[in-house]
């Protein structure tokens, strides 16, 4: 029985702050911020800006994982969405690009959701199909080239700023708020948690578990598409082979660091975003420290291990066992 930590999120927020503090020790300019051309710059801003795509993925992924599923295709969906947005960028207004990319993401999510909820295919296998095929689809859209674009409007979604805040961060914040409103402002959150924790009991309580499952995959697809647009806008082009490569794993990691169990049930969207920021703060820190980026993978693994150990119910048992309250007669 997973017992939640006394204050959910304490561990994650403490870890994030600790990593920021370490970064600051490694690089004293870490917290320096300057304003240039109406946009904030600095290492700490970079953590949020660079962390935006994974944070967007995590916002969708956390819902899927809460239903006891997983979505391995989000990286490929990023590539598809980026390819669509980049291909349309110089002929269509930016809102058409964005809408087309998000619609493609929704269709991808629908495909995953139907495979899982209607055909009963295990999520890891069902989404593996699109993970593999998705890059092929993206390459068909880009005709095998790296599609670059000149549209300043679309590029602004990656490099622009609103009141000094970089657009990727603004878009992530909007996605977070909309998702939170949708999930916690309605009964969806409870129904998703119930579906993930015990689908059979939830169905007997009258919850449409099929619709819940399809909906979370669709939403995950939309979030991934938004991440794909941001990534493409950032580099002013779409690279079907490399856009979002391996990011599905970072997104899953972010969700797990955020305390949501892969066994489904209780979830926290804000903590999944914190998880994404933790991952990015580590990446940035290692870049700043001048160590070889390969080290990043090892450090990442150790931090993940630490967070998981802190959350482990077994560890709580062991602590209770060692504590002197266990009086013997």
């Amino acid at each position: 029985m997973p017992i939640r930590l006394p204050r959910a999120g304490t561990a994650q927020i403490a870890a994030f702050l600790a990593i920021l503090a370490i970064n600051w020790m490694v690089s004293p300019q870490f917290f320096d911020i300057r304003l240039q051309d109406g946009r904030l710059f600095g290492s700490i801003i970079d953590v949020f800006n660079r962390g935006a795509p994974v944070a967007l993925l995590a916002i969708g992924m956390v819902l899927v994982i809460a239903t006891r599923g997983i979505d391995l295709s989000v990286g490929a969906v990023m590539a598809i969405a980026g390819a669509i947005a980049a291909s349309l960028a110089d002929s269509q207004p930016v809102w058409v690009c964005l809408a087309a990319a998000l619609a493609a993401g929704a269709v991808c999510g629908l495909w995953n959701g139907l495979l899982v909820a209607i055909f009963g295919i295990q999520p890891i296998v069902a989404t593996l199909i699109l993970m593999v095929a998705g890059r092929g689809i993206a390459q068909l859209i880009t005709e095998g080239r790296i599609v670059t674009f000149a549209s300043p409007d679309l590029a602004a979604l990656g490099g622009g700023a609103l009141l000094g805040v970089p657009m990727p961060v603004v878009l992530t914040a909007i996605a977070l708020i909309v998702t939170l409103a949708l999930v916690r402002g309605t009964a969806l959150g409870l129904m998703i948690e119930a579906t993930g924790a015990n689908a059979r009991a939830s169905r007997l309580a009258g919850i449409d578990t099929t619709a819940m499952t399809v909906a979370v995959y669709v939403w995950c697809g939309i979030c991934a598409a938004l991440a794909g647009v941001v990534a493409a806008a950032d580099i002013r082009g779409a690279d079907a082979n490399n856009a979002g490569l391996w990011l599905e794993l970072d997104a899953i990691l972010a969700v797990v660091i955020g305390g949501t169990s892969l066994f489904g049930g209780r979830f926290s969207i804000p903590l999944a975003v914190v998880g994404a920021l933790i991952i990015q703060a580590m990446n940035t820190g290692i870049l700043l420290s001048g160590y070889r980026p390969e080290l990043n993978l090892v450090v990442k693994a150790m931090v993940v291990l630490a967070v998981l150990l802190i959350q482990s119910p077994r560890l709580a048992d062991i602590r209770a066992y060692l504590s002197p309250r266990r009086a013997r007669s």
């Binding site: 009964a187 129904m191 015990n198 009991a201 169905r203 049930g265």
Partner: protein
């Protein structure tokens, strides 16, 4: 208690067992004495601490204080496995076996006969058949355990435990979900074990079962020991008084007057005509009237559960019509049924009745919320009101709406499934 002491030292002797959960004292210096070849009933209301006593004595949970002696020798099991190794086997209300493995595999899990590291399936099946034959059971041991009724699963769990050289067998409410016939099978097994000199601790809520099979009783109330008595010559009223801590007469008068609702012969609330599903249940008729209770009787495997599941849409019917309040309706899923005001309390509580991870409150409002749809969340104040009402009505203890329901005692969470299935629907 001045029960006469037997000459031999008791088989199992528990003294001063104490266990607290956070601020709540679930067990307070409880004693229990079990002799060889005895069936000893452990009684008490729901939440009295029976399951906690069993878990603390067998090392499933750490005890705060108390000693446990087996054959006069002090033991201190740190886990269920250690308890089994010392000779104490426990079978819980919810059978802890693996439903998708075969009966034989379940019986020999972790100790399969092997040759060169390979499991010798034929020998395992032969042993399993012989083991179950000793309990008067002749079933296909290669079939998955889930194919069999709860009773047979229980007997498999008992057979497995006893085969692990048990001297003491603890049965925590094994009969809660069995019918009369199934209970008889279980009792036969218990008598057989008793004659082999095994001591059995038996938790039940059915007093007639106490008189049918038990030698002595120990009664708990609110985590305290009320007393130990021999069953022979113990008046039923006295037993009830021990369990409830007040006279039965008081209990009777405290019960609300039963509404004398005459079964009205006008329009039925719901009726099912030629309702059925091929290869599941043959078409049946069922008429439900206002203010009446309809019992579904039948032998094991006669289709009672299946009928109930069909009526609730847990399985979709493929023939017949359902009529609710005079209009023909489609009941193809539990969602449809809930929309028409049906509720369902399933046979298997843990897997179908409750969402263990969610709180008592969330479980209670779940069905109501499902009926309202996701766009109209039940305001928190209303949730609290409904939950408080049902905690009072169903006497759910501890009365903490924010406790994960999986932490409640088995019978208590079964009661939570009632409103989860049904009552709050009327409230909307």
């Amino acid at each position: 208690m001045d029960t006469p002491r037997a000459d031999a030292p008791p088989l199992l002797d528990i003294r001063g067992l104490t266990k607290s959960f956070a601020a709540q004292r679930a067990l307070d210096g409880v004693d229990l004495t079990l002799r060889a070849g005895e069936i000893h009933a452990l009684l008490g209301e729901n939440g009295a601490g029976k399951s906690t006593l069993i878990k603390a004595a067998t090392g499933i949970i750490a005890r705060d204080a108390g000693t446990i002696r087996l054959d006069g020798r002090e033991i201190d099991p740190k886990s269920g496995a250690e308890a089994v190794a010392t000779g104490i086997a426990t079978v819980y209300q919810e059978v802890n076996l693996l439903p998708n493995l075969s009966v034989a595999e379940n019986l020999y899990l972790g100790r399969q006969p092997t040759r060169f590291g390979l499991v010798r399936s034929a020998e395992m099946r032969r042993n399993a058949r012989a083991l179950l034959a000793g309990f008067g059971l002749d079933i296909d041991v290669a079939a998955p355990l889930a194919d069999y009724s709860v009773a047979i699963q229980h007997i498999c769990a008992i057979a497995r435990s006893v085969d692990l050289s048990a001297r003491v067998l603890i049965l925590d409410e094994p009969t809660a979900s069995l019918d009369v016939h199934e209970v008889e099978i279980l009792f036969r097994v218990m008598r057989e074990l008793k004659s082999r000199g095994i001591g059995i601790v038996f938790v039940t809520h059915f007093l007639d079962q106490v008189y049918a099979i038990c030698d002595r009783i120990t009664v708990l109330r609110n985590g305290r020991l009320v007393g130990e008595r021999p069953v022979a010559g113990l008046p039923k009223l006295e037993l009830v008084r021990m369990m409830l801590g007040r006279e039965l007469a008081e209990v009777e008068t405290r019960r609300p007057e039963r509404d004398a609702v005459a079964a009205d012969t006008s329009m039925p609330l719901a009726r099912f005509d030629a309702f059925g599903r091929s290869r599941y249940v043959e078409p049946f008729e069922l008429v439900l009237r206002r203010g009446t209770v309809v019992g579904l009787a039948g032998l094991l495997g006669s289709g009672r559960t299946e009928t109930a599941r069909l009526v609730f849409g847990a399985e979709a019917a493929d023939c017949g019509t359902a009529t609710v309040d005079g209009t023909t309706v489609r009941i193809g899923s539990p969602r449809d049924a809930v929309r028409h005001g049906f509720g369902f309390c399933p046979e298997e509580r843990k897997t179908e009745g409750i969402v263990a991870e969610l709180t008592v409150r969330e479980n209670i409002v779940l069905a109501l919320q499902a009926r309202r749809g996701w766009t109209r969340p039940l305001p928190r104040r209303e949730q609290d009101e409904i939950t408080a009402r049902f905690i009072r009505l169903l006497d759910i203890r501890p009365a903490d709406p924010d406790r994960p329901i999986g932490l409640l005692s088995g019978a208590t969470s079964r009661r939570c499934c009632l409103p989860a299935g049904w009552r709050p629907i009327r409230a909307c």
